[in-house]
């Protein structure tokens, strides 16, 4: 399956086509095709994962010169496989294919990735290939994407029942899954871009699924345009790196070129900055995060799949995949501050702040997603590669769980507003409540749930790699995360029911995915827990080792602090809501608080800035100026050219044609007439005159002859 990994994305593509053309006629409106395809893709991804785990570690990668790889690399196995381990796979490598690296080098061998490409097209000296590149990171992503997609498919069969465009929904879900799978398995940046853009289109389609309401279509457009603004950076970045890496799109080659000094500093930084723009757009980092909360206008399964677990992490994946470029461009190993960590850190804080003032449950989760994406980007920015990827992995589970839980709740109460429609639902919807609680605790980072392990690694990395500021940001963010989630839980499940319906537990199609995800939220963290640390072992690839990403021992101190801040956040929430302590109704009393609340409620006026100022100024004055230029200047030139042509034509007609040409022609005729008239005098009709001429001529000729001959 590692060699045939292309089948995994091909299945959802096929199901998209089938659902699109035949979905309506099928007994279940096409969802059976979608479920089957994604289910099969998930099974195959598990097979691939098993194969990957079984793969012998034969690739030895040299770290960077001085610092070398690891201190206390307790996670990698030292036992190598027999050389040339029977697979003979082509793979990109940077060091010697090694035998047992016992004591000779400090690095431990890793599993060689499986790359398989076909030639897509050739353009002169450049050959563009399409293919798959399966390594631990790709395998992990494939498993996550296909699993979450499968669960969302199951969830949607009940949630989207009787929807106006049920079949179309599943077709779009299949296409989206295909796009993400193509992206994570791709071996070159061009194919990555292809999958990236496919996801953008599907996101647009799915957010605007109920486009008849203007809100939804506006949200879809906003999402598309905002991510598109970042995608310009992706295109530019890919082009720059193509030239920088010696005219190749292959990701391994680009990473190697970046880390080994093959690219000049300017090219590297330019390429990385451009790619960072794409990350900011797609992964909803500040300042292009504004689209994600609005994207909650789409159906909840869409939010769970796309905006929690898969599409938004595409940016994080991009950084993780092309880590060599970012590491070299921004000197991530040096510590201090770098753009990646900075954007991530800012995002963590501002999104968490905004989550406090939302009354729509999905919006709370949306801002929470933005904040957690900030954590992932920050992790990659502080050099904690494994931590960032692992957080991606665990976050997918508990965030999808939270979204699906919100979907379950809203399905029951037919609304999303926590303050108006919900409250006291823990008795009416026990399963949903339990799973939601598990998700909340995981998100808050309380051990032994999944979120704790990944978040702790991030904090550890920030602290140990010399990014003290971002350690602080992470801790503050953790407090806020726990606090706003507690608020959300309280408003939804506790207190008295404020709605008007009769909420009851959702059907199994909805609750079973919740349970599965809850289970995963509990156990998934142990995959990279210290002592086990399998996730790191499996996913760290040649690029990471070449860059020399540091590994750190588990620090009880950091873990304790992390847990404490999480508990502190919960305690704050508990105190505020359950015990009614704290400054309730502060906004009524204090103008400053009111102003602050308004600032947050207006999302820092960023939307106003973007829509009214930026877009508005383009729409207004700039568009008017362009129109004026077009009408007066361009049209003026064209019209003037036309008028000049007319004038020239008139001139040619009047002067050249009528006077000169006709004059010549008429003149010739008149000349003939005149000369004829002049000569007419000779034609008297009188014979003797002719005779006179005759003899006269004879005389002259004769005279001439006589004289000269």
């Amino acid at each position: 399956m590692l060699r045939n990994a292309w089948i995994i994305p091909a299945l959802p593509v096929a199901s998209f086509v089938v659902i699109l053309f035949f979905g309506r006629r099928l007994p279940r409106q096409g969802h059976e095709v979608g479920l089957a395809a994604v289910g099969l893709a998930f099974v195959l991804s598990l097979v691939a994962a098993a194969q990957w785990v079984d793969r012998p570690a034969t690739l030895v990668v040299e770290g960077p010169a001085a610092e070398g790889a690891a201190e206390g690399h307790a996670t990698l196995e030292a036992a190598p496989a027999p050389a040339g381990g029977g697979h003979g796979e082509p793979g990109a490598e940077a060091g010697a294919e090694g035998e047992a690296g016992e004591g000779e080098h400090e690095v431990e061998p890793i599993r060689a990735p499986v790359e398989r490409e076909v030639t897509w097209y050739q353009n002169g000296p450049v050959t563009v290939r399409a293919g798959t590149h399966m390594d631990g990171l790709a395998v992990a992503m494939v498993v996550v994407v296909s699993l979450v997609s499968l669960l969302v498919h199951v969830f949607s069969t009940s949630y989207m029942h009787d929807d106006r465009r049920y079949t179309h929904f599943f077709a779009a879900l299949s296409l989206f899954t295909a796009g993400m799978l193509i992206m994570v398995t791709s071996s070159n940046t061009l194919q990555l871009l292809f999958g990236w853009e496919m996801m953008g289109v599907c996101s647009f389609m799915l957010i605007g699924h109920w486009w008849e309401e203007k809100n939804n279509s506006d949200a879809a457009l906003k999402a598309f345009f905002t991510t598109r603004t970042g995608d310009v950076g992706l295109l530019i970045g890919i082009s720059i790196l193509f030239f920088g890496a010696g005219r190749t799109f292959n990701i391994e080659a680009i990473n190697t070129a970046a880390l080994s000094g093959g690219m000049s500093e300017a090219v590297l930084v330019a390429g990385a900055a451009a790619l960072l723009c794409a990350v900011i757009g797609k992964s909803a980092q500040f300042p292009l995060h504004t689209w994600l909360p609005d994207a909650m206008a789409g159906p909840t399964p869409v939010s769970a799949l796309i905006h929690a677990a898969t599409m938004v992490v595409a940016g994080v994946y991009l950084v993780a995949r092309l880590y060599g470029v970012f590491w070299a461009a921004f000197d991530i190993g040096e510590g201090g501050v770098n753009p990646v960590a900075l954007f991530g850190g800012i995002t963590v804080l501002i999104a968490a702040a905004l989550a406090f003032v939302q009354s729509d449950i999905k919006k709370v989760l949306a801002y929470s997603t933005v904040s957690q994406l900030g954590y992932m980007v920050m992790a990659l920015g502080v050099g904690a590669w494994t931590a960032g990827v692992f957080h991606l992995f665990t976050h997918a589970f508990f965030k999808a769980l939270l979204f699906l839980g919100a979907g379950s709740v809203s399905h029951a109460v037919h609304g999303f507003d926590m303050k108006k429609d919900m409250g006291g639902l823990r008795r009416a919807m026990p399963t949903t409540f339990a799973t939601f609680m598990i998700g909340t605790v995981a998100l808050a980072g309380i051990p032994p749930l999944a979120g704790f392990w990944s978040k702790d690694e991030i904090l550890l990395g920030a602290g140990e790699n010399g990014y003290g500021l971002f350690l602080l940001v992470g801790l503050v963010g953790a407090v806020m995360t726990a606090a706003y989630m507690t608020r959300c839980v309280y408003l939804t499940f506790f207190g008295s029911y404020r709605g008007h319906g009769h909420p009851h537990e959702s059907p199994p199609a909805i609750t079973v995915p919740l349970l599965v995800l809850a289970g995963l939220s509990v156990v998934a963290g142990f995959l990279n827990a210290p002592g086990i640390a399998k996730f790191g072992e499996w996913t760290e690839n040649a690029t990471v080792l070449m860059a020399g990403v540091a590994h750190h021992e588990f620090s009880v101190g950091t873990a304790a602090v992390g847990t404490l801040v999480g508990l502190a956040g919960i305690a704050l929430g508990f105190a505020y809501y359950w015990r009614n302590l704290g400054p309730h109704r502060l906004t009524d009393r204090s103008a400053g608080a009111r102003a602050g609340y308004r600032f947050l409620a207006n999302k820092y006026y960023l939307d106003v800035l973007y829509t009214d100022k930026v877009v508005g100024s383009i729409k207004g004055p700039i568009a008017r100026a362009a129109y004026w230029t077009n009408q007066k200047v361009l049209d003026g030139v064209v019209n003037a050219a036309g008028a000049m042509a007319r004038v020239a034509g008139r001139f040619v007609y009047d002067v050249v044609d009528q006077k000169v040409v006709d004059g010549l022609v008429n003149g010739a005729g008149a000349g003939a007439e005149e000369s004829g008239g002049a000569l007419q005098v000779l034609q008297t009709g009188r014979l003797q005159q002719y005779a006179a001429f005759l003899f006269g001529a004879v005389v002259v000729l004769g005279g001439a002859l006589v004289l000269f001959a």
Binding site: R686, Q688, Q689, A692, F695, G696, V699, G702, V706
Partner: protein
């Protein structure tokens, strides 16, 4: 020799004057008569040149027939008898110039070419028999052609002039 020259001179003088009068006289009939003088002089020249037969024919045909024709013509066209106002048209000047120039050219050429050529001293009269022989043997075809021509002219004149 001398006698011939004197005779020639007399005849040439008379011819010249008469020719001039032909083209200058205001009386048509006088013109015809002066023409007769010219023609007679020509015949005399022929005799001087020992071409007796031609002289005879000249007198017979030219004076005897052609001038008569002219006179008939004058009569039939009601030419005014006696002097009339003008018998010359208005390009007399041009004509004089042309004629003089022509004379000059011809004279120059002739003088240049034959200025010192003498006729053979003894001009024996050529025998009519020889003339006849030449016509009917050597030049028989032109003779026949000329006869046809005369016939055509005759027919033509009749056709042209008949009244219908």
């Amino acid at each position: 020799m001398i006698v011939q020259n004197v005779i020639f001179g007399a005849i040439a003088g008379a011819m010249g004057l008469a020719a001039l009068r032909v083209v200058t006289t205001k009386n048509i009939v006088h013109a015809a008569l002066y023409l007769v003088v010219v023609l007679a002089g020509v015949a005399a020249i022929y005799i001087l040149l020992a071409a007796e037969f031609t002289a005879a024919v000249q007198v017979l045909v030219y004076i005897g027939a052609i001038v008569v024709l002219f006179l008939f013509g004058i009569m039939l066209t009601r030419a005014p008898i006696g002097a009339t106002a003008e018998l010359d048209n208005d390009q007399r000047g041009v004509a004089v110039v042309v004629a003089l120039f022509l004379l000059g050219v011809l004279g120059a050429v002739l003088q240049d070419a034959f200025g010192s050529t003498k006729l053979p001293a003894d001009l024996a009269p050529q025998r009519t028999a020889d003339v006849g022989t030449s016509i009917f043997q050597t030049y028989v075809i032109p003779f026949e052609v000329v006869s046809v021509l005369l016939l055509a002219a005759l027919v033509g004149a009749v056709v042209l002039a008949r009244r219908d």
